[in-house]
């Protein structure tokens, strides 16, 4: 009897693990971001709550949980309520085929990378719903900007992932990691180009500086989540940082060898690589100004997409030449 339910229990357990990992990881990343920004700006950052302010995120979460949930008058109730879920659920789902270790994976889908790329694009729907539902002009502009941005950066992102797929010959995340056993992908010149393109377009995908156009503080106040408060706002925040983790983790598995490392545990290597990418993105965030909407679009379509296409062509040629 128990044996019959065991697979489901196992799945449930995995789900709980993933959810708690996401919560802890988002909190840690928020703390890390505050610390990195403080370091860059010759400040100290949070110091009071816990050693070096490490419990600050927990205090913030408690505060956000206790805050009033304000619904703006004239809001489109249904979209307004649903939007945070549309933003939060896809990144959680993407953990389904995130290879933490050789066996440490929820399900090694044979279309893994495709699944991750497609499921995370659903976020844009949530963002647009938030922008529309808030009945706020700034939010609306933010939502529209976000839709345009994410759709245009999806193209170079997938094209750079395509290069990896061609090189590895498989769509499965584990397969891609295994294919890197002789040599990590970013060490090959054509894949290094793909890596750079991936990083740039992934930064745009998760709305981070220099592509934080949908939430541009100095222009649109807070963009699509201007009107959200309390836990709903926290959900946007968690989604943002989970997305950040996902793009870094995908970058780690596609280009940096995933969980491959000289010594065990393999999950440690995976997390280390992901966090190195995250730290790099944070470092960029606190250095660069924001680009303008049209500049960002022309960069995506006139520079990134042609280069990515060329890269696909060159990779194909190299593969054919190799036989």
């Amino acid at each position: 009897m128990i044996a019959h339910y065991l697979p489901y229990l196992k799945l449930l357990l995995k789900g709980v693990c993933v959810l708690s990992f996401i919560a802890v990881s988002a909190m840690f990343l928020i703390w890390l971001e505050r610390k990195v920004s403080a370091k860059v700006q010759n400040r100290l950052g949070p110091m009071i709550t816990g050693p070096h302010g490490s419990l600050q995120s927990i205090a913030d979460t408690v505060k956000l949980l206790l805050k009033e949930n304000i619904v703006p008058s004239g809001a489109d109730r249904l979209t307004w309520w649903l939007a945070p879920f549309f933003v939060t659920v896809p990144p959680v789902t993407a953990f389904l085929c995130m290879p933490f270790g050789p066996t440490f994976i929820v399900r090694d889908l044979n279309v893994g990378i495709l699944f991750i790329c497609s499921i995370t694009s659903i976020c844009v729907l949530g963002i647009f719903m938030a922008g529309w539902g808030s009945n706020n002009k700034y939010s609306l502009l933010g939502g529209m900007r976000s839709a345009a941005q994410i759709i245009s950066y999806e193209v170079p992102l997938l094209l750079s992932a395509l290069v990896v797929i061609m090189e590895a010959g498989t769509l499965s995340m584990q397969g891609i990691v295994h294919a890197q056993e002789p040599c990590w992908f970013f060490l090959k010149p054509n894949l290094f180009v793909a890596f750079v393109i991936y990083l740039i377009s992934a930064t745009a995908e998760v709305n981070r500086v220099p592509f934080d156009i949908p939430e541009a503080e100095s222009e649109l106040v807070a963009g699509y989540h201007t009107e959200y408060s309390g836990m709903k706002f926290a959900m946007f925040f968690v989604a943002e940082y989970t997305n950040l983790f996902i793009i870094s983790a995908v970058a780690a598995s596609l280009f940096l060898g995933g969980w491959l490392g000289p010594i065990r545990p393999s999950a440690g290597w995976f997390l280390l690589k992901a966090y190195v990418v995250i730290a790099f993105l944070m470092w960029i965030r606190w250095t660069l100004p924001r680009v303008r909407m049209d500049q960002m679009m022309s960069f995506a379509w006139k520079v990134l997409t042609p280069v990515a296409l060329l890269n696909v062509l060159v990779t194909g040629w190299l593969l054919v030449a190799k036989g």
Binding site: V36, A38, K39, R43, I48, W283, T287, L288
Partner: protein
């Protein structure tokens, strides 16, 4: 086409330069203070709350006259024995004060001065409106130590 490529590469280079600056700054010491725990040392001329040494005051009302926001109120009486004028009440409205320090400059006996208390928060609004300058412990709840212009050093950073 060639122009485009050079633009992209010089752009990348400029971004890398900027990253170098922020990288260097990551290893500099923080310049901020952990405020409630560490407190800056006030300079010698710092202008905090208006304070009075009642014995020195000769009730000449010059400070009251020069105060641009009318934050001071003084009544005086002449002592029949010594024929000296002295203040009876001296009320300072902490809410109106703009900390310009003119009263301190104009005072002939240096009786009125601006002390080094900068944490001028009161629990009640009324308390702030009528601060009796003749009382000795008027700022006792604000500054645990005796208020005095104490430090000359520029070492406000630890």
């Amino acid at each position: 086409m060639f122009k485009m490529i050079t633009y992209v590469f010089s752009g990348l280079l400029s971004i890398l330069k900027g990253l170098g600056i922020t990288w260097n700054n990551m290893f500099r010491k923080a310049v901020t203070l952990q405020y409630p725990l560490q407190k800056p040392v006030m300079t010698e001329r710092f202008r905090g709350l208006v304070d009075l040494i009642p014995e020195k005051c000769i009730a000449c009302s010059q400070c009251v006259k020069i105060c641009p926001t009318a934050a001071l109120d003084l009544t005086s009486a002449v002592n029949p024995e010594t024929k000296k004028k002295s203040p009876c009440t001296f009320v300072f409205n902490g809410e109106l004060c703009c900390f310009c320090g003119l009263c301190q400059e104009v005072c002939p006996t240096s009786a009125i001065f601006l002390n080094n208390i900068y944490e001028a928060a009161y629990y009640k609004h009324e308390d702030m409106l009528k601060i009796d300058l003749l009382k000795v412990d008027k700022y006792a709840h604000l500054a645990p130590k005796k208020a005095c212009p104490c430090s000359k050093t520029s070492e406000t950073r630890k």
